[in-house]
């Protein structure tokens, strides 16, 4: 009876493993939407970084998100929008938590205004952004973007951290163990890892590789040729909090910020998650004791 029970447990475990196994396998090679997707090819192996929001205990670091927003607004915003993020989100708990007045002023001065209307004369008009408006990029649509960007399309960055991941290709027998490790450690930071690797992946093309006109070599981009010029340079953004202005810091901070834009409720989710787990754990133990008591006189 006990051997059978042990085997059954093994079966249940195997089935749940299989479930998660296949899921881990699913994270195919990260690739960019648009032109890059056609390029194919694998980038170099992407290293996992330690993030303040890593794992089940991690939460966003407010200061890092604020720095990341600074990098976004001074560098990325020149080409990329954040259409799914409203200015009001910058004020909300669990994010950069800027003061409301500062964000109001920021929205009013945001260079990419909101097209509103029609007005009483039936005309559309541009107006400064309000707290309730999204953070628009510089282009009205994809065609305008491509025309301005030499045919390339800078995607909206709101969801980019969730739309990218990292791949691993271990031997088949290692898969279940790696998956189990990821499930226990709750690895969900593939997007941030990818963005960091991409932004620090601009290196000289190896000998013999011809980089096309208007393209740049990147060791972590699928196909290695990317239309985006290296966006970050030493000292190009001056942080207010004394953090050093290195490419590494910029890359980390913007990756963290974009993880928040893709998942603005993450801190709330994890906090509630622990409360739910605690409740469930206590209830499960009580139910087990109850069950044991009910069955105490029945041999089974």
């Amino acid at each position: 009876m006990t051997t059978m029970k042990r085997r059954l447990t093994a079966l249940a475990l195997a089935a749940s493993l299989a479930a998660s196994a296949s899921a881990a396998l699913l994270s195919g090679p990260a690739y960019a939407a648009g032109d890059a997707a056609a390029a194919g090819g694998h980038g170099a192996e992407i290293a996992r970084q330690q993030w303040p929001f890593s794992g089940f205990k991690g939460t966003f670091d407010k200061a890092q998100l604020q720095r990341g927003f600074q990098v976004y607004s001074e560098v990325c915003a020149a080409c990329h929008g954040l259409n799914r993020v409203n200015f009001r989100n910058l004020v909300q708990p669990g994010g950069p938590e800027f003061p409301e007045e500062a964000v109001k002023a920021l929205a009013a001065k945001w260079p990419n205004q909101i097209t509103d209307g029609p007005n009483d004369e039936g005309k559309m008009f541009d107006r400064p952004a309000l707290l309730s408006d999204p953070m628009r990029g510089p282009y009205k649509n994809e065609k305008e973007a491509r025309a301005a960007q030499n045919g390339a399309y800078p995607p909206d960055l709101s969801l980019i951290a969730k739309a990218r991941g990292v791949t691993r290709d271990p031997a088949w027998w290692k898969h279940p163990f790696l998956m189990l490790g990821d499930i226990i450690n709750t690895y969900q930071e593939g997007g941030a890892d990818y963005l960091y690797a991409l932004l620090t992946g601009y290196v000289d093309a190896p000998a013999g590789v011809k980089v096309n006109d208007g393209m740049y070599y990147n060791s972590h981009f699928a196909g290695n040729q990317i239309g985006m010029p290296p966006p970050l340079a030493e000292g190009s953004v001056t942080y207010q909090d004394g953090t050093k202005g290195t490419v590494d810091n910029y890359a980390r901070d913007i990756s963290a910020f974009l993880t928040w834009t893709a998942d603005p409720t993450q801190d709330q989710r994890k906090r509630i998650g622990w409360q739910v787990m605690l409740y469930l754990l206590v209830t499960t133990v009580l139910l087990y004791l109850g069950k044991k008591r009910v069955w105490s006189k029945i041999k089974h």
Binding site: L26, L159, L287
Partner: protein
């Protein structure tokens, strides 16, 4: 089943009034309180209750999601983001629903493997089993339709690939397959029109599922539960009333399962999904690897095992059709298990050879799942073909042949003997 005739006695006037008019309480008491369940059930038997919970969770969260979801190719993706970001606890409802589909399949696969191991498909439980296979099919259809709704890249391309399968029928009758595909799409390609009808069907099928589940439970309550020995209940002392025995055990099992469920909902909500589905559907950009959700991977591997040739046998223009037939066949064959298995012993516990076949089959399913996620090229194709053969061999070779050549180990005479040992059982008798 003797013993589950009702011992219900309404105590209040209100209860008596109803009992004389519509004795629902009497029925519920007979079926879910006094109903005799074998005393020796293990925790694998809690998955029926767990599945009921999964279905209920999907229905409740799905109905709430539908209040905020805006079907349409221009609105679907945005409304999902609206739910995640702006609806109060929308992220939670959406995570429960998305993770819930995976949990539903984890539970249903364990439930099915339990049935296969203990021979729960054998007489007199054939109808119960076949209803289960139909439930699996409807579940798969519902999950597939539901995966379309976020209208991300993987949604769009998975629909394109899977609906295109029907075009394989063109090899039987020119135009038949293409006609069916266009009829399903409501046009000449997957579009917002397709999304609209898939949403409609995704809302309909779960209620069909509820109906079949009721039949499944009905059939179960006519023939009674199987148990780890595979021997029927012979005397009342071998059974315990459903409440509080099975219910207390089920409740514990459910909560243990919800622990796993919640871990994914709160800490790994995207683990079971694909990053590409956070990119809005774009008919002009094909993802480099189109993969279905994990629970379809074994079947996807079978489909793709039929390339130009199968284990060296050239298939020519029939390859696609055979792949489709094999994929659907891999589920259909389950329905024939009651007649394919020739052994009179139900439980694999007493079948030394069949036990090996079962575990090989379990490994085969895992291997096919692994291969379904790999690109269909090189050595992966060969392995997919080998495991496809093994998959069908379990049903078509192991089940009929082992029953004829195998000597089962000694069976206990009764459940009581298995539980209490031969002496105590004899005394009790």
């Amino acid at each position: 089943m003797s013993g589950h005739t009702s011992s219900y006695e309404p105590t209040s006037r209100w209860g008596k009034w109803w009992d004389e008019r519509l004795p629902v309480a009497r029925m519920m008491h007979a079926q879910f309180v006094a109903f005799p369940t074998p005393r020796n059930l293990n925790y694998l038997w809690t998955f029926g209750g767990i599945l009921f919970l999964c279905l209920a969770a999907q229905l409740v969260t799905g109905i709430i999601l539908a209040m905020h979801y805006q079907v349409g190719d221009a609105t679907a993706f945005n409304s999902l983001e609206h739910i995640r970001r702006d609806v109060n606890f929308g992220w939670l409802i959406r995570n429960i629903h998305a993770v819930g589909s995976s949990m539903f399949f984890i539970a249903v696969y364990i439930h099915i493997f339990r049935g296969l191991y203990y021979g729960s498909y054998k007489a007199p439980r054939e109808v119960l089993w076949i209803l289960g296979v139909i439930i699996l099919l409807v579940m798969m259809a519902t999950a597939f339709l539901g995966y379309t709704l976020p209208w991300g890249q993987m949604s769009f391309w998975a629909v394109t690939v899977i609906t295109n399968l029907f075009s394989a029928l063109d090899t039987i009758w020119a135009g038949l397959g293409t006609g069916i595909v266009e009829w399903l799409w409501g046009g000449y390609s997957v579009s917002g029109v397709t999304l609209n009808r898939f949403f409609s069907l995704h809302y309909l099928l779960p209620f069909v599922l509820v109906g079949i589940v009721i039949l499944h439970i009905w059939a179960l309550h006519v023939v009674g539960q199987n148990n780890p020995t595979g021997i029927e209940i012979k005397e009342p002392s071998e059974a315990v009333p459903m409440h509080p025995y099975a219910t207390s055990k089920d409740l514990f099992g459910m909560f243990a399962f919800i622990l796993l469920f919640a871990w994914f909902v709160f800490f790994l909500p995207d683990y079971l999904g694909h990053p590409d589905n956070y990119i809005e559907a774009n008919p002009l950009v094909t993802p480099p690897h189109i993969v279905p959700e994990w629970y379809f991977l074994p079947f996807y591997a079978i489909l793709r095992a039929f390339t130009g040739s199968f284990l060296g046998i050239p298939l020519g223009s029939l390859a696609k059709l055979l792949g489709v037939v094999a994929m659907f066949g891999s589920i259909a064959v389950l329905a024939f298990a009651p007649w394919l298995d020739t052994s009179r012993v139900r439980s694999a516990k007493y079948r030394p050879m069949f036990k090996w076949a079962f575990w090989t089959f379990a490994f085969t399913c895992l291997a096919l799942g692994y291969l379904g996620a790999k690109p269909a090229e090189g050595v992966y194709v060969l392995w997919a073909q080998i495991f496809t053969v093994l998959y069908f061999a379990y049903f078509l070779v192991a089940m009929p042949v082992l029953g004829l050549i195998e000597t089962p180990s000694k069976l206990p005479r009764s459940i009581n003997e298995a539980v209490l040992g031969p002496d105590a059982a004899a005394q009790k008798h």
